[in-house]
Amino acid sequence: MAVGKVTFTKAEREKLAQLLWLLNWISVLTGVILFSLGLFLRVEIQKRQEVMSDQEILYVPHMLITTGLVACCINFLGGKICYECTDTSKFLRWKLVLLPYIVCTFFFTFCVLVGALMCYSIRNQLEESLFLGLRNAMRYYKDTDTPGRCFLKRTVDLLQMQFQCCGNAGYRDWFHVQWISNRYLDMTSSDVRDRLRSNVEGKYLMDGVPFSCCSTLSPRPCIQQQVTNNSAHYNYRHQTEQLNLWRRGCRQALLDHYTSIMRSIGLIVLLIWLFELLVLTGVRYLQTAMENVLRLGNPDCESDGWILENSLAETARSNFNIIKNLGKCYQVDDDPNINPVS
């Protein structure tokens, strides 16, 4: 019981080979698309790598880039093979290569699927990475004189302005961080000394936020100092004031941004995977049809093509036996051609 058996006439075989040649070339293009999607994602992640704590998320774009390149090579080879499979004499050259090629392509399409699924599953790791990265960025906001961190203030300010967000989860995160460097604090002032003494770690904490948290949608000039003190500002209640500062946290904003990018990329990769699977099926049919033609001896007659020669269970069993016997050496007792002397 062959799986998926279809009978092919000579003309149909030739048409199949031509069609597969075309599809393989289209697959080379989709491989290029895969490569460029990976590159795009890599660039997007690297733009904001200062607010991400670990770089492990980069394995998603790297996976896409590698599969894209491999797809181009495999499908280029496939196109060449299918082009030459139109007649049986040239097919003989490729006969031995074809089965390993199909097996490799099958595993490769599996990798494409893994790449697509990774795009959807990376969200939790991304969130964790952003949480830690933003927390560190806010801590080092004031260290504009420390080498390696001097541009972090600018990065955070531009991030908050561009994504219209404030702090990690909200603007209150800035109240727990000293974001004004000691260089700009008048240590002789009693107000400053009181604040420094008011907490265990000697940090200058205040209920103020940087200017980049200010919302442009507010009808009122921005209130960024003494945000929680209603009496400090005329006609101001911070509980009801929604438009003064950006309400969204930057973690959520960045997460949404990257999730939407990766969802679209994941969808495209899934479609590419389906297309690759289709091409693979076609190549398998072509291979089996051409082999049956050779077996029958007459290049012009009809032949059958299938996906598996026997049912799935039998194929699995026979392959398993092959693998089991791979390690075994030749035993005289098992050879049916030799009559053991008993």
Partner: protein
């Protein structure tokens, strides 16, 4: 004295017609490009419309769009003419329109040049009084002024009209948010003639993110208000550029990108003009010959420039007189008649 005479054998005429056909189709494409350019410029201007009082600047993209559409039409006409130029039966029907075509091409090119010059002149006048209406977030028609100016200052990295001090002369905090029972507010309002609340502070959108220090945008002129802060030496705290200059530089950059394109369009149109003139005169010359396939001569002007101007002048004058008889002509037949009478009587 023919102006710039060139001899055209049949093969060269054919080549000229083919080349002109290609050139005119390229000009059709460039006409489309001009139209799209006009649309792009118009959308850019509409985006900044709220801070620009000077709405006459819209004439520039309007001209570009009009010229783009007109040049698509005229260059399509030119391609039809040169397609028919090699066929002696079809060419004559285009003849009456050719003079009008030349005039139209000259008008289009000069309009385009005028638009470019106008653009550069207008840019220097366009930034309006936007910052005066910053605080009017409750006035219909002006309620988005604040948001627009904040976004403009942040995007273009500028502050105020000429620099940040412009904000010191304008009341940018609405009276709704001022506590008029407080002494400080009353003092400030009384301290100037118009009763405005002026302060030495700027909106947050003037803040420069590249500053190593958290932004200081209030009490800028007060030396004691901020620790270790010197307004004169602190260059990175606020943006130093004025928004007028920033907008000018932005639009100059835009023009620098667009300008060469427009100039090349004008150049292409001029080459179509010259080639069509040569083709017209060469083909007309060939049709007048006994053997149409012989060499003919093409030229730009039949007579030299001063003589052509004289001819045009006399033609225009005759037209303006609406066809009355010339006094010289009236006398000559009378004299002839008199001479004839004298001859017959004598």
């Amino acid at each position: 004295m023919v102006l710039m005479k060139i001899t055209f054998p049949l093969q060269r005429r054919v080549r000229l017609a083919q080349g002109l056909w290609l050139l005119s189709w390229l000009s059709v494409l460039s006409g489309g490009f001009l139209f799209c350019l006009g649309v792009y410029l118009k959308t850019e201007l509409i985006r900044r419309a709220e801070i620009m009082d000077y709405t006459d600047i819209h004439v520039v993209p309007n001209i570009l769009m009009m010229v783009g559409l007109a040049s698509i039409g005229t260059n399509w006409f030119a391609s039809r003419v040169c397609q028919d130029s090699l066929d002696a039966t079809r060419f004559p029907r285009w003849k009456p329109f050719l003079l009008g075509w030349f005039a139209m091409a000259v008008v289009l090119c000069s309009l385009l040049l005028a638009a470019m010059v106008l653009c550069f002149a207008l840019i220097l006048y366009f930034l309006g009084n936007g910052i005066r209406f910053y605080r009017d977030t409750d006035v219909p028609g002006r309620c988005f002024q604040k948001e627009t100016i904040d976004r403009l200052q942040m995007e273009l990295r500028c502050c105020g009209n000429n620099n940040y001090r412009d904000w010191f002369e304008v009341q940018w905090i609405s009276n709704r948010y001022l506590d008029f029972t407080s002494k400080e507010v009353k003092d400030r309002v009384r301290s100037n003639v118009d009763g405005r609340y002026l302060l030495d502070g700027v909106p947050f959108s003037c803040c420069n993110p590249a500053s190593p220090r958290p932004c200081l945008h209030t009490q800028l002129l007060d030396r004691n208000a901020h620790y270790n802060f010197e307004l004169q030496t602190e260059e990175l705290n606020l943006y130093n550029r004025g928004c007028r200059q920033a907008l000018v530089e932005y639009y100059m950059g835009l023009m620098n990108r667009i300008g060469p394109g427009v100039l090349s369009v004008i150049f292409m149109q001029a080459s179509v003009f010259v080639s069509l003139r040569y083709l017209q005169t060469a083909t007309e010359g060939a049709m007048a010959l006994e053997n149409p396939e012989d060499d003919s001569e093409g030229y730009l002007l039949e007579k030299s420039i001063p003589e052509t101007i004289e001819d045009c002048k006399s033609q225009v004058l005759t037209l303006l007189k609406l066809g009355p008889v010339d006094p010289g002509d009236a006398e000559a037949p009378a004299e002839d008649k008199g001479a004839a009478d004298a001859a017959t009587s004598g």
